[in-house]
């Protein structure tokens, strides 16, 4: 998409949304249809491994439910929400746009978070510890890899109700930080930190395998972290 076309699209969308009297209604309607048709639908990504690949840390049963039910529902609901958002924008319905924000955050966040999560997990032994630049950064920011794991574990376990624990990158300070978010609030949109490694601590992530014992789950997850992906994410952010 050329830069000039992008600028025109934004101006067109803005003027339609504000109900500009300068655009004839037929043109506004056809423009709206044009803008809507380009909307990208979210899709459920395939797992980078089989459903049983993360056993015994996370069972095949959990992975199947988590991916095909929970994540899939976020994707469906996100698409439904985006269609409604498009319609509201087209109609210039500011109240309608605002009313959709909760559902977009829940479902959009759910989709983003789970996509990141599947990628930062791998079968045991595939990517066993941080190395090179990633390891150096972790040591620089936390003192040691164990200290970082300890902090991320403790804060993830301590989340009340549903949420996520994250290792994130602060682009302003150039340092890594541990952060937590409630529900499906996405890390970057909520805190500005770039997600490097996420741990889902919603009960659905561990209840089948660990029941109420979230600490055992969080401890075990360290065996299936894909440090190569974490390193790639760090490299991408520092570019």
């Amino acid at each position: 998409m050329s830069a000039s076309k992008l600028i025109v699209d934004k101006a067109l969308r803005a003027s339609i949304s504000l109900g500009s009297s300068k655009i004839p209604s037929e043109l506004a309607k056809s423009s709206a249809a044009f803008l809507s048709s380009g909307a990208t639908k979210a899709t459920l990504p395939d797992l980078p491994y089989d459903y049983d690949a993360l056993e015994p840390v996370i069972s095949s049963e959990t992975m199947t439910l988590h991916h095909t039910k929970h994540h899939n529902t976020y994707v469906s609901n996100l698409n439904a929400g985006m269609e409604k958002l498009d319609a509201a924008i087209t109609a210039g319905d500011v109240s309608g746009i605002i009313a959709l924000q909760g559902a977009l955050k829940f479902n959009g966040g759910g989709h983003l978070n789970h996509t990141l999560f599947w990628e930062n997990l791998a079968p045991t032994g595939k990517s066993s510890r941080p190395s090179g630049h990633l390891e150096a950064c972790i040591i620089n920011c936390f003192g040691s890899v164990d200290a970082m794991k300890s902090e991320l574990s403790a804060k993830s376990i301590a989340i009340q109700g549903s949420g996520w624990g994250w290792l994130g990158y602060n682009t302003a300070t150039g340092r890594m930080e541990v952060a937590t978010c409630a529900n499906q609030d996405p890390l970057q949109a909520t805190t500005g930190l770039v997600p490097l490694l996420g741990i889902d601590v919603w009960e659905h992530a561990y209840y089948v395998d660990y029941r109420n014992v979230r600490p055992d789950y969080v401890k075990a997850v360290w065996d299936i972290v894909n440090w190569d992906v974490v390193a790639e994410r760090l490299a991408a952010v520092k570019k």
Partner: protein
Amino acid sequence: MKLSFTVSTALIGSAAAWSSMSMKSDIPSSAATSRREIFQKGAAAVFGLATAANAQSARAYDLPDLPYAFEALEPYIDAPTMKIHHDKHHATYVANLNKATEGKEAKPILDLMEDAIAAGPAVRNNGGGHYNHAFFWEELAPADQAAKTKPSEQLLSLINKSFGSLDEMKAQFEARAAPGALFGSGWVWICVNQAGDALKLVGTPNQDNPLMKGAADEIMFPILGLDVWEHAYYLKYQNRRPEYVSNFWNLVNWDKVSQNCAYVIEKHAGVPF
């Protein structure tokens, strides 16, 4: 959402302790007292409280016994869920609440509710968790018993006034409890309002409840509540929360809900434990 590290280590410690305790599922309900003693001694061991001899004052919060067997609410709530929900989740809230209030003036759990949010995360989450679950167990009954109960005239009149009909109240309750409406963990409540003249439908996150100042538009008095944390339904229903919610009505003891209603209106206070 920041919790102090000491609270989080207490949670880690307590969770680890509970996982190592083996709770036999065939303990008959007549041995409920001894099971309760096991919990209390277990809590004392974990948190280094004084020995049972002098620690079991009336001041410590206790895990109440269920008024029925674990399997009594089948098939709508499964026995394994009831066992873990009561013996692990609720028990952990009680243990952590005792830890959080150690050395402080003893207060009935109801009295902790109004200022629970201001009291900080340990009291808010564990005090709320204890109250909410104690309240919840009492309003449920085995399906065949529940079927014989119905709202009192007083309650029905308030339901009709506030919602139009019992069916309409149930429909609104189910909508409020839906995954898209109450996101993440929380509870849905029917409450009597401050003025004592209407019922309100309220959702609260995590372990908050409408007795807490700041949780809702005004302090309100729950007469019926439903836990929609995933632990309340995951083993049987997985992600199918709407099915769990619609099955909930089979277990509601409307006589108890009616008693709750009469009590909170007369006393202008929440149901005590």
